[in-house]
């Protein structure tokens, strides 16, 4: 991708893949990592002074919505890719609920082509598991994988028919790609828009109970056990779901799971005052659920942190709470938000990096998440201490639907390198064009 040489000097190298946590430099040549170690010397290379910040594998996001094609007023592959690298993400997997749906190899081709032209971040399309996300007829998984799809999911919708889900899981073994489940039983969700509990009762809004998620996650874990397929559970948000996944792992079920920064740090109280930017599916839950998700992330029940970046336009979020679409943008705030786990002593920096890069890359079976010599030079430089105020208007996403708008954040991605190319630098802004 690039024949330039970049010498990242004087940082704290955090490479989960090699269990390396030490001060040193990284040298990049021809798009790959050429050397890692203390006091390298490459005086003819472009120098990035890390100034003691973290040098980590670029983040890999398992779960994003880029809205192209069809809803470019919310986001497109170009703006989403820019927002991603501004948050330290080098690679992002995009869900299939575009218009039209990514349920056909031609659509997967389109996304990949568009990403090559427009996106500074690598883009991995997740194809629909069923045609039109209708939950009935499975997609041509083999052709989709050949086109570049990395996983299958009807995310945003739940495949309610257990028979269909069983066949999808069985069939996915043919292509060796994970099936990602959005676990919410739509009948138990009914018209629920906030977590069922004291907050829904106080606000007078229809509640979405934790059991709606747990019932579906348990069903899919049992089906994964039956079929031996790789099930990946998206956006785990409840204590019961964490417990069910933990038990399934102990039984040897081939399951991986992700949690979102918002479910790891915010409770349903963020919705008080009818803040539609805190409306998300699954909804923000109770303190006990947040604690359980954090515990699951720490003990390895939950493998990865994924943003579920879901842009929506201001005029959509200005609707009443039941009509406003669920979702929030997350690329540019993910790192400072999840740093909370390091500050709280729950995760070491290297373990946080593992959950942001190494593990998600492994789940998708894609390169990344490693600073090994010869690996693609996807690198995030992260200042864990810088304090800044998040203003979505100044961000790179087309949308502004963030519950963290206006908040002071600690920690920020200060530079992102993808394939050996410096695409973002906090001082100079977006360098990709």
């Amino acid at each position: 991708m690039s024949d330039s040489r970049i010498w990242i000097r004087g940082g704290r190298i955090l490479d989960p893949a090699a269990e390396r946590d030490e001060l040193g430099d990284v040298l990049i040549e021809d798009g790959v990592i050429a050397a890692v170690g203390a006091r390298l010397d490459a005086s003819d290379a472009e120098v990035i002074d890390a100034k003691g910040a973290w040098i980590a594998p670029g983040f890999v996001d398992l779960h994003t919505h880029l809205r192209e094609p069809g809803q470019e007023y919310k986001e497109d592959i170009a703006s989403g890719g820019r927002s991603a690298v501004a948050g330290g993400f080098a690679a992002i997997a995009c869900m299939a609920n575009t218009q039209p749906v990514n349920d056909d190899p031609a659509m997967t081709d389109f996304i990949i082509d568009r990403a090559k032209q427009d996106s500074p971040a690598r883009v991995y399309p997740v194809a629909a598991a069923t045609r039109g996300l209708e939950g009935t007829v499975m997609t041509e998984m083999s052709a989709l994988v050949d086109a570049g799809a990395v996983a299958f999911s009807d995310d945003g919708k739940t495949i309610m028919n257990g028979g269909v889900m069983r066949r999808i899981l069985e069939y996915s073994r043919l292509v060796n790609a994970p099936v990602i489940t959005h676990g919410e039983d739509c009948h138990l969700v009914a018209n629920g828009v906030v977590n069922e509990g004291p907050v829904s009762t106080k606000l007078g809004l229809p509640g979405n109970p934790a059991v709606a998620e747990e019932v579906l996650v348990v069903r899919d874990l049992i089906l994964a056990e039956l079929t031996g397929a790789h099930l990946h559970v998206a956006h785990v948000s409840t204590r019961g779901a964490v417990a069910a996944i933990r038990q399934a792992r102990e039984r040897g079920v081939n399951v991986t799971a992700e949690a979102a920064p918002h479910h790891l740090t915010l409770t349903d109280e963020a919705v008080l005052g009818y803040n539609t930017n805190a409306k998300v599916a699954p909804p923000l839950r109770s303190m006990a659920d947040v604690a359980a998700c954090r515990e699951g992330l720490v003990d390895g029940t939950i493998d990865a942190i994924a943003t579920d970046h879901a842009p929506h336009a201001v005029h959509e979020k200005d609707l009443d709470f039941t009509e406003a679409p669920p979702g929030l943008i997350g690329f540019e705030t993910a790192f400072p938000v999840v740093l909370d786990l390091v500050r709280g002593g729950e995760l070491s920096p290297i373990e946080l990096m593992r959950r942001m890069s190494t593990n998600p890359a492994k789940i998708l079976k894609r390169p990344g998440g490693s600073l090994a010599v010869g690996a693609p030079a996807d690198i995030a430089i992260l200042d864990p201490e810088v304090s800044w105020t998040y203003d979505p208007i100044k961000g790179y996403s087309k949308s502004r639907n963030s519950p963290w708008a206006g908040q002071t954040m600690t920690g920020r991605a200060t530079a992102t390198i993808v394939g050996g190319r410096l695409v973002y630098d906090v001082e100079r802004g977006m360098l990709y064009s």
């Binding site: 509990g197 106080k202 609707l319």
Partner: protein, 319 residues
């Protein structure tokens, strides 16, 4: 301390509530005159912004505004599905540009008055939002009980019916609680909200236990769409288990009063007999509703004038 908007009873403290009730007592007297009009709000514009259809509450606010000599405009944007994607905030901003002195908002979804108040210059009065709150209903219920019993402190109030979907229930739970009453609720289990005890009430599934020794029994309206299927098996079963009649009322205090926010599904929530005769006080509630809304409009619609005064002061300073 009364704020700019009246969005919920939850936001009020006991002194605010007493001030509104005391003001309403004065307003009640106006309704008894031959000429039912005072010049208090002359020159003020009050907009009734009703996204959800309403006859009773809208009429009550309109009469209240007119008795205070305000110009009252009724604005009811169609809630048809075609208009659903129109931003409620755009509608509100448009109205605000016409400089109303107060905007009375009703919407079928909880939180809309708050969302509108966040972008509006004019004070917003909540006339009912989804299953959230209906503050003027609770205030008129307090006024009615205060007149009947001479006090609210220490009374036992049982609210019976579809608590889950009821804004009247939530506002009354806060209102009677803040005024020192013991509030109980009784409903079929699917109609009891999750963690309802966090609102400060005791929940019962037995009507008899809930109204045992009660001073006030308040029946809530059951919406037709809830009468069959997922929340209740049938009208007949609801009426038999939670419908109030004189027989069931024997468990309450001898001087119990029966209330209902209306309109009553006769023979469902209340027996015919109770709907029309004491100890039910349904029409007194309606009468007090006008007085409460006069008090609320009077207390909450003064802000724009204060702004004007500020502008005048500002220009004086410049000179």
């Amino acid at each position: 301390m009364i704020g700019r908007d009246l969005l919920s009873i939850e936001d009020l403290d006991r002194a605010d509530i007493e001030r509104i009730l005391d003001t309403a007592d004065h307003m009640r007297e106006v309704g008894k005159r031959v000429v039912k009009k005072v010049p208090t709000l002359r020159g003020r514009t009050i907009v009734n912004l009703f996204f959800e259809s309403s006859t009773r509450t809208k009429a009550s606010f309109e009469i209240a505004g007119k008795r205070l000599s305000a110009d009252v405009i009724n604005f009811s944007p169609s809630s048809s599905s075609l208009n659903k994607s129109e931003s409620i905030l755009d509608t509100a901003r448009t109205l605000d540009a016409m400089d109303p002195d107060a905007v009375v908002v009703r919407h079928s979804v909880a939180g809309v008055p708050k969302q509108i108040a966040d972008v509006l210059d004019a004070p917003v009065i909540n006339a009912g939002d989804g299953a959230h709150e209906h503050p003027t209903q609770a205030l008129l219920d307090l006024l009615t009980v205060r007149h009947e019993k001479g006090r609210i402190d220490g009374l036992t109030v049982a609210i019976v019916g579809d608590i889950l979907h009821s804004r009247v229930a939530r506002s009354n739970i806060y209102a009677f609680g803040k005024m020192g009453a013991e509030v109980r609720i009784a409903a079929p289990p699917p109609m009891i909200p999750a963690a309802v005890e966090t609102l400060g009430v005791k929940a019962f599934t037995s009507l008899r236990e809930a109204i045992d020794g009660a001073d006030v029994v308040m029946a809530l309206r059951i919406q037709n769409e809830r009468l069959s299927g997922t929340y209740l098996p049938s009208v007949r079963e609801y009426s038999a288990t939670f419908g109030i009649d004189r027989e069931k009322l024997k468990y309450a205090k001898d001087d119990v009063i029966v209330m209902h926010p209306g309109p009553v599904n006769r023979g469902v929530e209340l027996s015919h007999d109770l709907t029309d005769h004491r100890p039910s006080v349904i029409l007194d509630q309606v009468r007090n509703g006008v007085a409460i809304r006069m008090a609320v409009l009077y207390l909450f619609s003064g802000r724009r004038q204060e702004n004007e005064q500020r502008v005048e002061l500002g220009s004086t300073e410049k000179k």
